[in-house]
Amino acid sequence: MAKNAKQRTDIQIAICGSAGDGTIAAGDILKQAMAKAGYNVIAFDVYPPEIRGFGKCIARARITSEQVYSLKSESDCLVSLDDSHAIPHVPEVCKYGTVIYEDTPMSEMAEGTHISSHLASAQLPYGVAFREISERVTSSARSRNIVAVGYLAGLYDMPAEIFHQVIGRKFSGKPKELTDSVLSAFDAGFQTGAETFRLHFDRIGASRSKSKQSDLVMMSGNAATVRGCLDAGIDTFFGYPITPATTIMEMLAREMPKRGARLLQTEDEISAIAATLGAGYAGARAATATSGPGLALMSEMMGLGAMAELPAVAFVSQRGGPSTGMPTKTEQSDLNLAVFGVAGDGQRIILAPTNVEGCYKCAGKAFEMAEKYQTPVIVLLDLYLSNRYEAVELPVENPFSENCSKPVKKKPGKTKYSRFKLTSDGISPRAIPGDEDCMHTVTGLEHNEQGRPNDQPEIHQIMSAKRHEKLLTAVKHPGITISKRFGDKGKVDVGILGWGSTFGEILEAMIEARKEGIRCSAMKVVMLSPLPLGPIHAFMDDCGEVLVPELNYEAQFAALVTGATGRPVHRLNRVTGTPMRVREILAEIRRLAGQTEMIAAE
């Protein structure tokens, strides 16, 4: 069947099974192949907090020809590898959507336990004998998941060739017989799928840009973060494992030693940040990564970083809180801790990327900023961003500067070096151990320009100002988008202000709202501290109503923005451990648009 090249593609596939079914692996092959085929792909996996057991796994991938910004709350296709887990997800399949399931259950099933009896009338059932096919071609049931992927590919007319490449790469290093057996499972599934009778909307449309195929890389937010670190020339990493940040350290552990950079798993998060500051003091580009509980432990050290004006980068991937909370669920509730969780007036820089490409940018730029502004920089991710896959184009040329340090210009032996010299921009020339004639001691005590402890009233006042004012220049740091407005220009009925991973859903909702004729625009704020107040004020000036949707209970960003601008906003909050839904945001936009009109009519 010929591919309809004119058709736009926007299809979301969910594969659901239990931990042992190879659900995540199946999803991985699908998303890698489709990205390789030139589609835009956004994917996100959900898995249980326990190491094992029969917890539910879902791999979701949205495959599109145009740029999109988030997963959809409805999927076009659900593949069930375990009906008991998949049944609750049948309602998430859209009208005329497809449900693919195992047609040969191992034993007879109790009534109602088979998924086919749970479909809505407009959903299309495709029963397939995954197990049987797997057993037939590989003499084992273990490749059921691959058969399912093959079936899917066949059903949707996906390019089998590219799947072969992806499977080949995934199994490279494994015995050839294994790879061959997996490939034959795929082919058997593909053939079955291709031969199945289907309606036209089951076919996949064109990819975005056949020509650019090779530039699109399928990558998770954490992987992009790692790439950013490597491209920025990270020298040392000290970390302690914690979900969902662990994979950053794990990937760096493989890559850094290849470049002579050094990584150490420390005894806890306090040591991780302490060593990071120590390394930064000694001149290294140094980073750590953690989640909310770890950041809480780092709070005291972060304050030292601010006071002693030391560079350090901390990647903080948020999960459900408070406390140990929900380690494998997403949330945006560590904003308060990141922005305010420090003793004293200890402001530092906070960056929060909104998508996978942003993770790369923010990671690299964080090292530049830490070095330039001589302060800890927190890059605030969340589980939904860390583990989300997107097809991204990484820049061909390394976009990060090698050295952003303000150099010491000193006639040797002439004047005594002052580590904390007062300058017009608050940034003092920085020397590091080994530099001739620049000996000094850094301290968490208040200190004078030489770094000597000093608690005179004038000193504290002027040094507090220095430490804060230098940060204000960071909102103009070159080569990074600190904030950006999308959608309608000029006056709008509703403006949506967003941050972090939720901004994808915000953009989608804004686009929908505009389609409905609502004057609407959205602004993403990437630097959360110091806030880019100029652009935010300008944006708010243009908006009839401002909506701030975020994944936390306390409306943390809303309160932050209002506290800084003195302007009230509408809050939209959700704490379910799952991403915000586009339709929730849209409903709120509609409500506010109506409200503005009413006010205007009064």
Partner: protein
């Protein structure tokens, strides 16, 4: 080994010092310690050791936590990092991992090390990070004005133990030995020449060296670890003590009533940097 029960002040010895070149290692700031505090001997000892070893100030970093002891870096004319209470070792780890070429000397008090900083010592020791850790043990919290510490003896009266301390003190030497420290020694602030010797040996050791210095707090301890009491009890390790014998070191460390001065244990083994280089070599081999 001499038996001097009073510390030596820099001021007393100004002439001697000026001609020795040691002053290069001392900052312009005079120690803010109480007159008579044992810590003066240590700063003096480190300056002397640095001269003798010919260390370059610009390649030396003194790292500390918080406490009277931890004020030390301000009094040295080297690079310095006065960090947070209990965190000197992880900060030093970062410095050393970032730059192998630096000589890193870590100092701290008994509370800094064994109370709030207790989680870090085992790891610095087992990893054999090539730094020198000089522990200023006065058996009390000096800077916060006299509370009990992990090395305070039973029966010690402090502001937080007005009805006398009931907790058995820790035994730092035994602990460090059990952690796998590759060099462990003890000195006494009242015996500055031996102290200086020990500092030199500690800095010279390749790997993690731990030097425990008994040092009276003349302000908040009038009864326990005083010059008088220590002067009467400290003695050198027996001449035939074998520094390669772990069991002998442990046995000697158990004798806390009569603290013995000298090197308890010394063993060369790969440092953390060696390990990290090994990792890099293995990684390159896979590229």
């Amino acid at each position: 080994m001499m038996n001097i029960h009073q510390p030596v002040y820099l001021e007393d010895k100004l002439e001697e010092v000026e001609s020795s070149g040691k002053l290069a290692y001392r900052s312009q700031t005079l120690p803010t310690w109480c007159p008579g505090c044992g810590y003066f001997s240590i700063v003096e000892g480190v300056s002397k050791a640095m001269t003798d070893l010919g260390l370059n100030q610009k390649d030396t970093v003194c790292v500390s936590g918080i406490g009277c002891a931890s004020r030390f870096p301000f009094f040295m004319n080297t690079f310095g990092f006065h960090s947070l209470h209990g965190r000197a070792l992880p900060v030093a780890t970062g410095i050393k991992v970032a730059n192998d070429d630096l000589t890193v000397i870590v100092v701290g008090g008994d509370g800094d090390a064994f109370a709030i900083g207790g989680a870090h010592i085992p790891h610095a020791a087992r990893r054999n990070i090539d730094i020198t850790y000089i522990l200023f043990d006065n058996g009390v919290y000096g800077l916060t004005k006299g509370q009990t510490s992990p090395t305070s003896i039973v029966g010690f009266k402090t502001t937080t133990t007005p009805y006398l301390n009931v907790d058995q003190p820790l035994n730092p030497l035994m602990m460090l030995l059990s952690y796998g420290a590759s060099w462990v020694a003890q000195a006494y602030a009242g015996e500055p020449h031996h102290l200086t010797e020990m500092i030199e040996a500690a800095v010279a050791h390749r790997g993690f060296s731990y030097l425990h210095v008994l040092s009276p707090c003349v302000t908040f301890d009038k009864t326990s670890m005083t010059y008088k009491n220590l002067g009467m009890t400290v003695r050198p390790l027996p001449g035939d003590h074998d520094t390669s014998d772990f069991a002998a070191a442990m046995a000697a460390a158990q004798n806390t009533d009569l603290p013995q001065l000298g090197v308890y244990f010394a063993k060369e083994r790969p440092t953390l940097a060696d390990g990290l280089n090994e990792i890099a070599a293995r990684a390159e081999a896979t590229v």
